[in-house]
Structure formats: C-alpha cells, structure tokens
Symmetry: none
Subunit: 462 residues, 2 copies
C-alpha cells in the first residue's frame, strides 16, 4: 500500500511537471507560494516543500533564498517554433495578410495592416473611460447586454445618422461584436451556400474570405475611381443573379476613393429591378474630412444595410460593430446573434466606447487625425515615387494608398521577400477576386514613417 504522504508529494510534483511541460509556467517564472498551493491543493505546507525540494533536485526548479521557487532556465524541452503558427508556408492570400498582421512579432513593421499605430489613438480618453468604468454600476460590469446592445451607444449612432439626414429608429440599430460580425450575421440571414455575391475588385480582402467561408460565389466588379464599373455591374446582375452586393462607399478599401453622386444614384436604380440587397460598410466614415455620398442615405435603408465599427479611429481592442437597417431584418438579426453569440458586444466595451464618443474630445481627435493623415499621405507618396511606386488615386482622407509598381513586378513576391526582413505588406491580388492586381499594393501611410520600410522594399525590388 503506498504511503499517503509520498503519493501526495508525487501528485503535486506531477501537477507542476505538467505545468512546465505545457508552458503554463515558463523559464524564470515564480512558482505559486507554498501557502497558496497548499490551500489550493488541500495538502499541508510540508507536502509542498517536499515536492518543491524534489523538483529542485531534478533540476526543473531552483530556490532563491527567501524569495521562493522559480522555474529553472535550462531544463525545459525546446519549443518547436514552426508550431507557433507564424511561419507556416502558405499562399499569399487574405489569411496570409490577416495572420501576418495580427500575429506580427514585436518590432515588425506593418505598412500592410489596416489600423493606426497605438500612439495615434485617443489613449487619454480611453484611460479616463476605464477609470469611470471602475466606478460604474455592478450590472454593467457583470451582466449580459440587452439583445440589441447598449441604448446609449445606439442613441449616439442615431444622432450621427440624423446629421446625414438618415432618419432611423432605435429598433433599427443593433450592436455586433465587430463590423465583420455584422456582415457575417447578414450573410446568415439572407444567403445560402452557392448564392452569388458581388464585391468590388479590388475590395476588402477579409470580406472576400468571410463570403467564401459561407461558401458563396464571390464575383468581382471592377472598381473605378468614382465607384463600380456600372456596365460590368449590370452584366453581373443579369448573368449571376446575385443576392447581395458588399461595398464600402467612403474611403473605399483599398483605393481610398469615394462614390460619386451619379454612380450612387444609378447603382441604386440598376439594382431596384433585381432582388439584391446592398451592404454598405461605413467603417472608414470618421476618417473622411468631408462627407461623400452614401447608398444607405439615398436609399433610406430599405434595400441597403449599413454596417460599421469603431476600430479605425477609437480602438480595435474594444470590439464593437453595428448594423442599421429595416426593423424586421434587425429583429431577425438580433435573434441570430442571440443564437450564435448569446447577445451582442460587452456592456463594458459599449460603456467605454460611449464615454469616449460622447465625452467631447472625440471630434477634436478626428480633426487632428485628418490633418496628420493628410501630411502622412503627402510624405509617403513622395518617398514611394523615388522607387517608381505611384498612387493609382488621390484619396481625400484615410490611411490607405493604392499604388502601382513598375512593370514586371509581382507584388506578392515583394511581400514574401519583405516579411523575412520584418516588414508585413498587403499585395494587390489579395484584394482582387480576378487576381488582376499583381502590380498593385495597398500601403498604410501611418505605418511607414520608418526608413527600414523603404530599405526592405528597395531590396525586394532589385
């Protein structure tokens, strides 16, 4: 019969060995204090002391006099870096850009990413909001949101929409986990695998990935300076019988251009005779110094659904998006979000966003961003020109420049080379369902104020 004390000691040792093997504890980490672990494991402190001492003897742990026990630096089995998810050989596709950007290691430069550097964001207002939250009602800190999401934040959106002369009711707005989740819910409501969806070519690559995850047929319509090519659009309506068109009108991603009033009107007229719903993503709205035409406003939200979020100008960490549309659709979308996420975004998140948006400093923050981005667009355009890289368009806001490279250059290859030099890029074909943008690349001017970007680009181009 085993000695109980020995068994307990061995049990403790095995628990700690498992923690080391699984890297729950790493080299240099402090082990739980003897008293803590004794309480947690319901054994006497002497059992823990015995277990720790034997782990020291094994070399896995070392003791520091008076300062507790630490994981030894030397005995951990090596981690297989290839398993870390970062360096997998994969095609240069939408997932490549997303994962390279999201999982970029400390010190990587990211002219290919879709967000502003943290020091461009309203940090002070966020910190103030967090301090306020620390004094908020209990319910905000621990309860689920109501099914449509924070009334306060929806009221704010209502006010913003009213400024555009887009009258909606509170029940026509719901909050979602993000703008991507907004599109995701809409696809679930309206579409079935195999349905055709029109997108801009070039257009936002992650929306293409999302649509493909729904097993939809993604059909690109060439995007021109002032909107989609209407002849191609009409032909696609006729030939593919699409159920949905997904676009962004303001500061179109990646070209940075706006829809002209004429194209906006003609596009709505064209689709009127077809059973096509339009999703207009307004994510970049707050980066626009002057408002440009919106399909949602012309249409009055009858066949257009507006989606958006706060990640580009406020925080991408505090996840929240929204959908505005017909009330009967919003009801269904709310049910769908309850079924698939048990409700919308965190009350902690929406309270924090509301405090920044309504706090007074947000409009000043935006106008500072506009000025700073205008300067960055000018500065980086000049630097890119030295490498014969030319903006295809002249955006009046935002952080994107859609650029053309010299003849015979495959920007996918450039991206592949640059990532080994610590620079993550967004090559053109990632945005193009027809893969006709091999000589294009989307640059984020706010992420390029570092000579290393240009050193890597020049090296990759030669």
């Amino acid at each position: 019969m085993p000695d109980t004390a020995t068994t307990k000691t061995e049990h403790i040792m095995q628990v700690m060995r498992d923690k080391l093997a699984s890297r729950a504890l790493n080299a240099g980490d402090r082990l739980p204090s003897i008293r803590q672990l004794a309480t947690a494991m319901n054994v006497s402190p002497s059992t823990i002391v015995e277990a720790y001492d034997r782990l020291v003897a094994e070399g896995l742990v070392r003791a520091r006099r008076g300062a507790g026990f630490y994981v030894s630096d030397t005995k951990l089995p090596p981690l297989n870096i290839a398993d870390m998810g970062n360096e997998r050989p994969r095609d240069i596709d939408p997932f490549w850009v997303s994962r390279q950007s999201l999982d970029a290691r400390e010190g990587m430069l990211q002219p290919g990413c879709g967000w502003l550097p943290e020091d461009w964001m309203p940090q002070d207002a966020l910190r103030k909001g967090l301090r306020q939250l620390a004094r908020a009602d209990d319910a905000i800190l621990t309860n689920y949101a109501n099914a449509h999401g924070s009334q306060k934040l929806r009221r704010y959106l209502l006010g913003r929409f009213a400024e555009e002369h887009l009258p909606v009711s509170l029940e026509q707005i719901m909050l979602t986990g993000s703008a991507s989740q907004a599109l995701d819910l809409i696809c679930r409501m309206l579409l079935r695998p195999g349905d055709a969806v029109l997108v801009d070519d070039p257009g936002y690559f992650n929306f293409h990935a999302l649509l493909r995850a729904h097993q939809l047929r993604v059909i690109g319509v060439p995007r021109k300076m002032d909107g989609p090519d209407l002849d191609a659009f009409a032909a696609a309506l006729r030939d593919a019988a699409p159920r949905l068109y997904v676009t962004n009108s303001a500061l179109h991603n990646p070209t940075g251009m706006a829809l002209s009033p004429q194209i906006a009107h003609r596009l709505l007229s064209l689709t009127a005779d077809h059973d096509v719903t339009i999703v207009e993503d307004d994510t970049f709205a707050d980066l626009e110094p002057e408002p440009s035409p919106r399909l949602a406003v012309l249409d009055g939200l009858s066949r257009v659904l507006r989606i958006g979020g706060f990640s580009k100008t406020l925080s991408a960490s505090v996840r929240c998006g929204y959908i505005a549309g017909r009330q009967d659709w919003i009801e269904k979308l709310v049910d769908l979000q309850v079924a698939t996420s048990f409700g919308g975004p965190s009350p902690v998140a929406t309270e924090l966003l509301s405090s920044v948006l309504i706090g007074g400093g947000y409009r000043r923050h935006l106008s500072e961003l506009h000025t700073r981005l205008a300067a960055a667009r000018k500065r980086e355009t000049k630097k890119l020109a030295q490498l014969n890289i030319r903006p295809w368009s002249d955006p009046r806001g935002g952080f994107y420049l859609w650029c053309e490279f010299p003849d015979d250059i495959d920007t996918g290859e450039i991206a592949r080379r640059c990532v080994t030099d610590g620079v993550v890029l967004a090559p053109g074909n990632v945005f193009s369902p027809s893969r006709s943008a091999i000589r294009f690349m989307r640059f984020n001017v706010a992420q390029m104020n570092n000579p290393k970007v240009y050193v890597a680009l020049e090296k990759a181009m030669t």
Copy 2:
C-alpha cells in the same frame, strides 16, 4: 395498399425536394448519378430514373443529354426564415426565453435566466482590474488581439487544464467571443446544412437554436441522471450518422448532474467506431465543488473539443470564450474566426479577465460561491416543495434545479402567465427537442430569493 414502386419513387423525390429546399443542392448543381443514388438508397436504378424524370416534369430539375441531371436555375423555393423560430407573436421557444431574459425590464424577476445576480460576482476584483487597465500599455487599449487571443489568458487555462492532467500546448487553445461563438465556429468548420447533430434531451436550449441556425438536424438523446441514455445514443449513431455530439458533462444544463466515469468511458468507446466529434461545453466547471469526469480529459482532446467561458462565475459582460482541441483544427478555427470576426476577443477584455483570474482572490470567490449556492439550492427546494414542485435530481453544485410539476400542468403556460406578473421562467420543453418535458422547468436558485416569485407561480398554477 400503396404500390411499393410508386412509394419508393415518391420517397426519392421527397428526399431530393428536401435537399433543394434546404439548399443542400443549389441551382446548377449536378444531382447524384443514378447508379450512386440507387446504391445509396437501396433501390433499383429504374426507380431513380423515374423519380428524376418526374422532377424534370415539375421543373425542379433539368436533364442534360449524356451529362446527367442538374438543379434547375429558376424554381428554387424561397428560404423560409420562419423555420428558425422567428415569427412574432412567438411561441415559448429558445428565443422566447433568451430574449425575455436578456431584454428583461428593470425590476423583472428572472428565475429562468442562466446567470448569477450581479452582487454574487467578483465586483471588487473587476473594479481593481479596470483601474489597472487604465494604466496598461497603449497597445492593449487600442490594438487588435493576436489571432489565437491573449497568451496570458491561454497560459492560465493551460495551468488549469494541467491540474486535471489534460496536457495541451498553447497552440491548442484559442480564445473566442463567447462559448456560444466557440460552438458556432466549430459548426462552421465541421458541418454542412442537413448534417445530423446529437444533443442531450433535455439540453441547453440556445445550443439547439444555434444548431438550427446552421440548418442542422438536431437529434435529442434522452439524458439520464448519470449521462445520456447509451442505448438511445447507439441507436442514433446507427440511424442518423451524426457528425457531432454537443453536451456538457459537469453540472449539465438543465439537470445539474454529472457524467459518471462508466458512462464517460462507454460513450467514448461507442463513438470511436463512428466519425463523430464531441463538443464538451465546460462553462459550468468553476461552479463544481468537486471535479467530475470529463470526456475531454479521458480522450486527451483527440476527438473531443473542449469549449468554455467565464460568464457564470466572473462576468458575462466581459465577453470571452475558448476552444481547446487538436492543433490542426485550432489552426483552421483561428482562420475562420479571423474571416468572420477579424480576430478573437478584445485585449481589454482578456486583460481584465486575466487580472481577476490570476489575482489570487478568484479561488476564494469560487469557494464562497459554492457555499452560497448549496444554501440556496436547499432553501429553494424547500419552498418549491410547498407548491408540489420537486427537483428531478440533486445537483452537487451550480445554480440550476430541474424540477417536475404536478400532473396536468403545462409549464409553457405557467411561463406565459408569470411573465405578465414580471417573472421570467424557463419552461421544460424549451430544453427538449422531443418536446417531452412539458411538466418540467429549470429554476435558477440564485434568482429566487424573493416571495414574488412564489406568489406568481402559485397564482399561475391555480
């Protein structure tokens, strides 16, 4: 007596019509070859030819000379969103309970809801965490999370799993927006519309709603005191060829019971010969005073995926769930989450959760909850007995009591009456795919310490 050949033909036609209605087959798709389908359906090829010819006559299918049969482009019936249980005024269904609970007005009592009152939650630790967050790095406040989600929180989970002797690596864990979203991503990865999924009957109603939103066939297996009825489970494996089984083992929702070690082992053995993945929802783990058997641990995460979250014991406002499973699956699930939500839960959220979980007071908070809940279960059991409402089981943890009402009482009707008196309930049939729980109801003992609950119940029962 019906002509057997006619019946068979009609059966084939109905199978194909269902496939079209559910969009398992879409406009332009090729129908299965005559030989294939004849073999699969165990009928003669001439029966299939007859069925296809008649579908051609109906306009649903067209024949291409020498190239088989195809779905017609024009005749697909419109999708019926009402199939999801959406129509208003609505039945007492999963959406009814979710929406009544989430949208409860100030002052409503909620013995039917699935969460603890806010004053049972670790408010002080959350407030301390928010004050710490107000001083955190800029990047945490405004950047996207990495694609797998916070390392710190994943390391914490790793440590907890190691205590259960479930060795996993960091790359086998990903964070999601919620436990529901975890299941949602898994359904997207593994299943297609029309696939069969086994669930417990009774079982968590929102999972049933989620599975139906994916257009899956939800098949209930009777849940007994110690786990699913294994004879029924084996029959369902044989007859329905399910791809997935979704369950929770610890403090099963709604019965509050655990899986016995014997049932756990036999269940895994039973499924080993079938291509069935098991999703084990561990949401209630921290409410368990003593650990009970887990399929994930026995299986070592080869065919079992573990999902869970922090909403029951820490905060439902700070949204975050997780998935642990095979690394190749987690890689795919991470890509799917990037496509559909552009990444996982907010760094603000995960930092806040980590600060509470690792802060030291969390285990004490749990043991206080266990004591408080044991007292509440005893107290409310006594009060319910006065109305002849008896717990079906004797849970050893958690806040649920699954109770049986006296003969001839329809708990759906009770719920309908009580909501007009300001009391939201969770009637049994909402949990039961077979709708065989009309005399049952799930009570949340932490939400019942108010005489008005019993006044409303008594009034509704007479």
